[in-house]
Amino acid sequence: MTLNKSKIVEVKHGIVLVGNFNPVIFQPHWFSESGIIRKEEADSAKVEVVHPEVSMFKLDWMRLNVQPMIFSVDTIQDAYYEIIRDFSVGTFRLLQHTPLLQLGINYNFIYDIGDKKKWNDFGHKLTPKELWGKFLNEPGMSAIKVEEKPIEHDELGCKETTKISISPESKLTKSGYGIFIQVNNHFQLIEKQKIRSATTIIDTLEKRWDDVMSKSKDIVENLIGEIS
């Protein structure tokens, strides 16, 4: 099956940073004062929580959630997927002394297969039932996770792993025969790297972004192509 745009239910791009954060800082007007977003956007932001332990707000095009160890920003508007990268890079170029340990570049995809047989066949292809049928009555796939061996990028000071999760998605699709695919590109400082700043992780975000996004989209398109 080739990827049919009208069957795409949702594409979400997300960036997750793991480190030490002070959530109180991350308020809409801090971002506009710093030149990272427009003032008009900060004025119309929907602030959900501002607290020493958590800061959450939404703009028209993105959602931010910051906790003491997690900074997470995502968008479901594909026109803005690069802008959340700029948002993250801009933030930690300014807060350059924030210790960052890990980075996740996530690509979440919900697709409506629209046909029960194709949906079941795809599940069988991913997890053949010959083995499971020996123990279980009519086994069905509820989720599958596959990850690759980490690749060390000495020049970046990080190691990279791509992890793929697939599960059925019935509630958010019109037909009820949909799938949810998550491609998580995980980066972690290599052990010998000293954690002094945000620089290594943010450089990695900038340098690996294009390749990682392209790889994630290829993975999803190829998986969809396996639906027959």
Partner: protein
Amino acid sequence: MSTGVLEIISDKLGELDKTNKIRVMDYYKGREFLEVEKTTALLSKETFFDEYSSRRELDFYKEIDSSEKIFDEKDNLSNETNIIQFPLNRPLDKYITSKSFHGVVDEIYDNFFKASLVDELNERYVVEIEKSKLHKEDLDLLNVGALFYWNIGKIIDAISQNQQNDSFIRFRRIPVWSEKKIRELNIEVDELSKGLLKETTNESKAG
């Protein structure tokens, strides 16, 4: 059937709805309406959103408790059955890109600027763009060598699923601070943190 939206404050539902049933629009499935017992929506919130949502439970929970008014077409509502747009907190609209470019500003004139563009297929273009097409807050970023995104696509309304053509230019924003600005902001953040900690302590005492 009315498609109006109520002002939702959960304990007022009884006044607004003369029947024991509430119609709920499941916006994830487009314009599909669900009819639920009022008591289910009011008294068993967990059950309700377990059944009708999947990854957005937290949003649903908050939204049910919200007294926020989205818009009010109360006058159009049927006396017998009210329609509730659910969740009450408006979700984000989708933006589907049909064409996107990366641009760099080459030359600036009084009313327009010249820029080089490259699209997803690596095709290159040289264009003239009127300054009036820029957001007023992006005018300060208009410098020779500045990078921007130009997207052409459509916005899909999260509730109605109506589509509207759209085009926007947005300059990249990756600022760099001076040492002085960093010192000023650090002071501001310290003060903000102290204020919030004080508020939290007072709340704990009150509780």
